[in-house]
C-alpha cells in the first residue's frame, strides 16, 4: 500500500521527506564509497535493485485466499543490509511512482520512510536478534520478513493517522481506523510474506549458496545446514 500522490497534506509530505532524507543520504554515501572501492559492484547493485522491484510486484496467495504483493523489504534488508536497501527501496519507490503510478512523487518521502527506512531496519533488527539469540537461519528470516512487512504497514497507518486525526479521538482514534483497514488485514499477509521469504531463502541456499556467502547471509560451511 503506497500512499498515493496528493493524499498527504503538503506539510506532511514535506515533513516525511525531511525525515527520510538523512537515511537516504547515509545510504547513498555508503553506496558511493562501496562503488569507489569496487566499481564492478555497480552492476550487482543494479541487479539487486531490479530484484527488489520485481519482488514487490509478485503476487502471493494469502491465507484468506485473496492475493497481495509482498513488500520485499525484509528479504532485501537481509540480503543487502539496511543502508543499501534504503537506497534500493527508494529507487524502487521512485520507479513504481513513475512507471506504475503506485505511490507519488510528493509522497515519496513518506513511502520511503516506511518501506525503505523503518521496514528494513526493523526487519533486519529482528533477523539479527534471532540469530544473536542462536535461532536458526530460517527462523531468523521469517522473523525479519514478518516484522519488516508488519512494521512497514504500521508506519504507514501512523503517517495517515497523523495527517488525518479523528475528529473525536484524534491521532489514536485515527490510528485505530487506519490500522483496522490496513495493518490488521496485513497480519495474514505478513505471515505469508514471512513464509514466502523462508521458502525462497531455503531454495536459494541450494541454488545460490555462493551468492549468499558473498552477501554474508551464509558463512562458508553452513551450506548444508
Amino acid at each position: 500500500m503506497h500512499i498515493a500522490e496528493g493524499f498527504l497534506p503538503p506539510l506532511h509530505a514535506a515533513g516525511w521527506t525531511v525525515a527520510a532524507a538523512p537515511f537516504v543520504v547515509h545510504g547513498v554515501v555508503r553506496l558511493n564509497r562501496q562503488l569507489r572501492e569496487n566499481p564492478e559492484a555497480k552492476l550487482l547493485v543494479g541487479a539487486s535493485g531490479a530484484f527488489c522491484f520485481v519482488l514487490s510486484a509478485l503476487k502471493i496467495p494469502s491465507v484468506t485466499g485473496s492475493c497481495s504483493h509482498p513488500t520485499g523489504t525484509g528479504l532485501g534488508a537481509i540480503l543487502f543490509r539496511p543502508p543499501v536497501m534504503t537506497v534500493l527501496g527508494t529507487i524502487t519507490l521512485l520507479f513504481q511512482a513513475l512507471l506504475l503510478a503506485h505511490g507519488g512523487l510528493t509522497t515519496l518521502g513518506a513511502n520511503a520512510f516506511s518501506m525503505a527506512v523503518v521496514g528494513p531496519w526493523a526487519g533486519y533488527g529482528a533477523y539479527a536478534l534471532v540469530r544473536r539469540l542462536g535461532g536458526g537461519l530460517l527462523v531468523a528470516v521469517f522473523a525479519g520478513a514478518f516484522v519488516a512487512d508488519l512494521v512497514t504497514y504500521c508506519v504507514t497507518s501512523a503517517q495517515l493517522a497523523l495527517a488525518f486525526p479523528d475528529p473525536a479521538s484524534g491521532f489514536t482514534g485515527a490510528l485505530t481506523k487506519f490500522g483496522a483497514i490496513f495493518a490488521v488485514t496485513q497480519i495474514p499477509l505478513a505471515v505469508s510474506e514471512g513464509l514466502l521469504t523462508v521458502l525462497v531463502v531455503r531454495l536459494l541456499r541450494s541454488t545460490s549458496a555462493a551468492e549468499l556467502i558473498r552477501l554474508r547471509v551464509l558463512k562458508e560451511g553452513q551450506v548444508a545446514s
Binding site: M1, H2, I3, A4, E5, G6, F7, P10, L31, N32, L35, P39, E40, K42, L43, L44, V45, G46, A47, S48, G49, A50, F51, F53, V54, L55, A57, L58, P61, V87, L94, F95, A97, L98, L99, L100, A101, H102, G103, G104, L105, T106, F164, D166, P167, A168, S169, G173, A174, K177, F178, I181, L196, L199, V200, L203, L204, T207, S208, E211
Partner: protein
C-alpha cells in the same frame, strides 16, 4: 511491457526537454496540492486532463487505466473519514463525507498531473541528465542499470510465470505457493546471473567503472518553456476567480 513507459516513448512530446515538462506538470501538481480543494481540485483535474489528452495526446485508455490503482488506494483510505472513533465505539463522523470528497478530489488532480509527466517523459531522458549532476552520478547510474535490467528481468518473470501456468502451477493453493517461491528464487538467480554476464559483456567493451553515455540533445524550446507554466497559472487563476466570485454572492 509497462504501459506508462511504452506510452512515454511514443509521446509526441518525446522530443521536448524533460525540464520543460517538469515545469508544466509540476505547476499543475502544486495547484492540486495547494489550492483550496473546492473548486481548485476539479478545475486543476479538468485542465490537466485537457492538456494530457488534447495537447500531449496521451492515449486516453492507458491514461485512465493507470490512474485506477492509486485511486483505489485513495478511496479505501478516505472511507475512514466517514466514521469517527469515540469512547462508546464507532459513529458517523460529522462532515466526514465532505472531507473524503476533498481528499479524493485533491488526489485525482495530483495523480493526473503525475501521470501527465510520467506518460510523456521516458526515464531514459531523465536518468542520464541526472547522472551529470555531481554527487548524484553514482546513484543515477545505478538507477539507470536498474531500469535496463528491470525490462530484461520482467520479461523473464512473465515467461516463467507462463511456464508455471502451463504446468498447472495455478491450479491449487499449494501449486500457487510452489510457483511463487520458485519464481522469486529464480528472479534472484537470474538477476545475479544477468549482472555477471553484463559485467563480462561490458568489460569486453572497455568498462572500467564509468557508465557515462552521451545523451540525445533535446533542444530546450523557449516557446514551449514559456507555455509550460500556463496551465498551472490558468488553474490557479480560475480557482481564485471562482472563489472570489462565490465570496461576493
Amino acid at each position: 511491457m509497462l504501459a506508462i513507459d511504452a506510452a512515454a516513448y511514443r509521446s509526441p512530446w518525446r522530443r521536448r526537454h524533460p525540464a520543460a515538462k517538469a515545469v508544466l506538470a509540476g505547476a499543475l501538481l502544486l495547484c492540486a496540492l495547494l489550492l483550496p480543494p473546492w473548486p481548485g481540485a476539479p478545475v486543476t483535474a479538468a485542465i490537466t486532463l485537457a492538456v494530457a489528452l488534447g495537447w500531449a495526446r496521451v492515449p486516453p485508455r492507458a491514461f485512465l487505466r493507470s490512474a485506477r490503482a492509486p485511486l483505489a488506494f485513495v478511496v479505501t483510505g478516505s472511507l475512514t473519514f466517514l466514521v469517527s472513533v469515540n469512547a462508546s465505539g464507532l459513529a458517523w463522523a460529522p462532515g466526514g463525507a465532505a472531507r473524503a470528497g476533498e481528499v479524493i478530489g485533491r488526489c485525482v488532480a495530483a495523480v493526473l498531473a503525475q501521470l501527465l509527466f510520467a506518460m510523456t517523459t521516458p526515464l531514459a531522458d531523465v536518468l542520464p541528465r541526472v547522472a551529470r549532476r555531481r554527487g548524484l552520478s553514482g546513484l543515477a547510474e545505478v538507477a539507470g542499470l536498474v531500469y535496463r535490467m528491470l525490462s530484461v528481468v520482467l520479461e523473464t518473470v512473465e515467461a516463467v510465470r507462463r511456464a508455471q501456468a502451463d504446468r498447472l502451477g495455478t491450479l491449487s493453493w499449494g501449486a500457487r505457493w510452489r510457483s511463487v517461491t520458485g519464481l522469486a528464487a529464480q528472479v534472484f538467480v537470474l538477476s545475479f546471473d544477468r549482472a555477471r554476464r553484463l559485467e563480462d559483456g561490458l568489460s569486453d567493451r572497455g568498462y572500467t567503472g564509468s557508465l557515462a553515455v552521451s545523451v540525445e540533445p533535446l533542444p530546450l524550446s523557449g516557446r514551449f518553456l514559456a507555455l509550460a507554466p500556463l496551465p498551472g497559472l490558468a488553474a490557479a487563476g480560475l480557482t481564485l476567480a471562482l472563489t472570489s466570485a462565490s465570496a461576493v454572492t
